[in-house]
Symmetry: none
Subunit: 295 residues, 2 copies
DNA sequence: ATTTTAATGATTTATTTGTTGCAAACATCT
DNA sequence: AGATGTTTGCAACAAATAAATCATTAAAAT
């Protein structure tokens, strides 16, 4: 963000030499420099998830006399930003007049940003809430998304897996994806994600599920999507870009919001489930705890 | 400076009704709003040349519960200025006076929208462009994303597959994911996506690839991500939400932008590749052409 | 001129802050 | 294994903080 902030650079440079807790503290400071300037040390520590003492230790590790100096530097940086405001705008204009790639990228990102903002409209929120409610009451949640929608389906399933064991992902090698539905009942719900062009297999599987009495909810792209007719709840999200492809970013955002709503519904249970997942994964040594040597 | 700061306007409006000391305090606050946010009340009082108690009285005079609220408001204003681009979007956040789920959803979506807007800043655009350039010149592009990042990796790979045959997805059943690298050379590039907590396997595979001379580019979440050190190009994207989970929406957006930039680079070839894909898929009868019967 | 009212200054009080010392837990290396 | 050095969490501390209280002063009204 500020390439010319010496303290920042020092933290990045010395990051590898820090202990785990120090790294966690440093990471938060790097990512939330304003907070360091604006709130108390204990509060920063709380937000960073470390002991208050660790913040002091971080300051000393960086060669500063104490935490106050750390805050002072961040405060100074924040003060300067008021002045440097004009410079930033100028920089943007310079570049904005420009050529090619950055322009395309910026335009596309702004479009996506606007699409997400649009999802905040009352209609969309109602759909989200309705769908979350329906999913909440399900015994099992089957998740189906083929081809381009695989990414969204899988991610939803992945998060739901961390949360409990109600989720079944309808996908598998050798075309066995549909087998998950063998014992599906009317107590279950199928979340199907599909956008134009709609994959035939997805529609057929959804129809099959519906015939078995499974409740259908869907994330799709249009009022006239084939999914709308067979779904008890539908969330519509935009997919258009000015590029060649349809975007799945709004759909992924929607699925993440659904996960959050479901998680938020029963916080204690969610926390317990997440802790279980943590333990399991740490036993499996899945994640890199210490940062490996840099090259 | 801030025409839409209600507290500011209130102070100006009520200025005449204040006592001499209160006016002096208010004047300083109006002229040095950053200081109010950044230093203690007593210090502000000293700088303003009034008694500490006067600052408390000023806050109460303005109808606030106490000085803390005065500082909180100035801090919030300062925070927003930092976000710059996203500020516009952020303004609406507090409007939701609401209850429950819709509120959570709306808040989260607005946050995501702001994060995408932030990616339009010059720094991020530079990273995007640099990475796209690096990917463009690669003979083959290997794509690696494990666990939560699988969704992004797979989607990138999927789109790249429609575009040509340069993409290899490093994933597979039975832990065979790394096998794709067997014939990787220094002409190739590995795109690795990983966010905290970083999957050990992903880091190890990336390191292996690097040792083979493969160029590394990455999408990750922090300056101090272990990927930064081993990558020729890195795109940083935010992952924080106020929910339990990290979001992958910005990462997906970034990957879609990368795809677009690559596609845009050679439009004729892209169009041809897409037409081929269309033909292939229509021969396979993959997509539902007619909208099936509604129920 | 005297009372009343508001404003300002000084003092006190209960919190909160940043720091430090110490013991348990941890990893590391013979 | 056992010993050693580091890292980490906890609790106690002194300093500083914001607010509440009381005393004094200045101005306004009678």
């Amino acid at each position: 963000m500020q390439p010319s902030d010496p303290l920042r650079e020092q933290m990045i440079a010395q990051y590898d030499a820090m202990s785990a807790q120090l790294q966690q503290a440093a990471r938060y400071v790097l990512e939330h420099p304003e907070e360091v300037a604006l709130v108390s040390m204990r509060e920063v520590a709380r937000l960073a998830g470390v002991q208050p003492a660790t913040m002091t230790r971080l300051a000393k590790f960086l060669g500063l006399p104490g935490y106050d100096e750390l805050r002072a530097q961040h405060a100074a940086a924040l003060r300067q930003r008021g002045d440097g405001f004009a410079a930033k705008v100028r920089q943007r204009v310079d570049e904005g007049s420009g050529r090619g790639a950055s322009d395309t990228a910026s335009h596309m990102l702004q479009g996506l940003s606007a699409q997400l903002a649009k999802l905040c409209e009352p209609d969309a929120l109602r759909q989200l809430e309705g769908t979350a409610t329906r999913l909440r009451s399900a015994r099992k949640v089957y998740v189906l998304g083929l081809r381009s929608c695989h990414a969204v389906a899988w991610h939803f399933h992945y998060v739901m897996t961390l949360l409990g064991e109600r989720s079944v992902h309808l996908d598998g090698p050798g075309g066995t994806g549909g087998d998950g539905l063998i014992r599906a009942t009317s107590e279950d719900v199928l979340l199907v994600i599909s956008i134009k062009p709609y994959a035939k297999d997805a529609l057929e599987l959804a129809q099959l599920a519906k015939d078995k009495g499974v409740g259908i909810v869907s994330i799709t792209d249009s009022e006239v999507s084939p999914l709308v007719g067979m779904s008890a709840q539908t969330i519509l999200c935009p997919t258009e870009t000015d590029s060649f492809f349809h975007t799945l970013t709004p759909a992924l955002a929607v699925s993440e919001v659904l996960c959050s709503l479901l998680a938020e519904f029963d916080r204690p249970q969610t926390l317990e489930a997440l802790q279980q997942a943590d333990e399991h994964l740490s036993h499996l040594n899945t994640y890199s705890t210490a940062i490996p040597r840099r090259q």
